[in-house]
């Protein structure tokens, strides 16, 4: 049977690889070092597959169709954005397990949107590039997108239910595979708004503190309006973290790094979820 052997929360800021001018190099190195530490842990955990839960940024999905949650069940490529400093490439998939998660969801009240040819935006390709590919070229991927940044927003409760279902689906996959879960995005950032560049360190530390305590209930109690006011429109991506956390029966957290980087428009936090 498949088993979840590790989980991590991390940003997916595309400027981490795009290297804009005036970036604080020390802070950047700290964040990239944390991603490298995740890659080392993924390798150490002898993972076969990483399920990366991210969100689209109006790159993949448009106003004509915004799925509440979508899964890549076929060919994977990325990144969509040519300016990220990452060459577009084929991404190793695990279509068999992805199909299983799709069908398990359908049988349990979750009607997935499915993509047979998914070109990944930075919401999943950035962490895959920095923490999956370096862990081994054979590593397989399942990308999952939830609508945490595009309206209509997925609810916190549904993110939790979805994560729980994904965990149950993995554990019911009758193949011996070791799976790691990534929840990506956040923490505070205001994307495109008048406040863009602002970082709320107090808010970010609070989120990381709740993560370290494994306090999923408090994270889930945060209203969208609170996120928008105190963490910006980008902080709703904490729902991606909640979805990842909800795949686990329980956890505590260990923060690898936190760096407030206004020039990268984000408070950047990386943490391992200790099972």
């Amino acid at each position: 049977m498949a088993n979840i052997v590790g989980a991590f929360c991390m940003p997916h800021d595309p400027y981490l690889t795009a290297s804009p001018p005036n970036t604080n190099q020390q802070q950047l190195n700290n964040v990239l070092g944390a991603f490298a530490k995740v890659a080392d842990r993924v390798k150490e955990l002898k993972a076969d597959t990483v399920i990366t839960i991210g969100s689209d940024h109006y790159c993949m999905f448009g106003p004509q169709l915004i799925p509440a949650y979508a899964i890549g069940i076929g060919d994977l490529t990325g990144p969509m954005e040519p300016w990220m400093g990452i060459e577009q490439q084929v991404v190793n998939d695990n279509r068999e397990m992805a199909q299983h998660i799709l069908q398990y969801g359908a049988a349990n009240g979750f009607d997935w949107a499915a993509s047979k040819t998914m070109c990944l935006d930075h919401g999943t390709i950035l962490p895959i590039h920095l923490s999956v590919t370096p862990a081994g070229k054979q590593m397989k991927n399942i990308p999952i997108y939830i609508s945490s940044t595009l309206e209509p927003f997925i609810s916190m409760q549904r993110s939790h239910q979805l994560g729980k279902m994904i965990g149950d689906a993995v554990r019911s996959w009758p193949v011996d595979e070791r799976v790691v879960i990534f929840g990506t995005g956040g923490i505070s950032h205001w994307v495109g708004t008048r406040e863009m560049g602002k970082v709320n360190e107090a808010f970010d530390h609070w989120i990381l503190d709740l993560t370290e305590k494994g306090d999923l209930a408090t994270l889930m109690s945060i209203e969208d309006s609170y996120f928008l006011e105190h963490g910006g429109n980008g902080s709703l991506e904490i729902k991606n973290w909640v979805c990842a956390m909800s795949t686990l029966p329980g956890f505590t957290g260990e923060t690898y790094c936190y760096e407030p980087m206004p020039e990268l428009i984000t408070g950047l936090g990386v943490a391992e979820l200790i099972l």
């Binding site: 109006y58 448009g62 309206e151 994307v191 495109g192 008048r194 863009m196 560049g197 429109n233």
Partner: protein, 88 residues
């Protein structure tokens, strides 16, 4: 129609390089493919991102389109347009 049609006009610019090229060549002609008010047409033609944001257009789209049309070096211009005091 609604800001959703305006969002579609913006999203198509980011999604399809041919449409972006058509917009650069003839913005009015590009916008003839969408049912927009005069105010909305003007907002897209002049990249009035602050107005669009105030009207409820997604700022993920306004940022993406501004950078795409004006280039990555225009990022400080976008912030100025959004009311921030950024030194030249």
């Amino acid at each position: 129609m609604s800001i959703f049609m305006l969002e579609k006009a913006l999203w198509d610019l980011g999604d399809d390089p041919h449409k972006a090229a058509a917009y650069r060549e003839n913005p009015n002609g590009y916008l003839d493919n969408y049912i927009l008010t005069d105010r909305e047409r003007n907002q897209v033609i002049n990249l009035e991102v602050d107005q669009m944001a105030d009207d409820g257009v997604s700022t993920l789209l306004t940022l993406m389109v501004y950078i795409m049309i004006r280039g990555t070096e225009s990022f400080p211009d976008y912030l100025r347009k959004m009311g921030q005091e950024i030194p030249a």
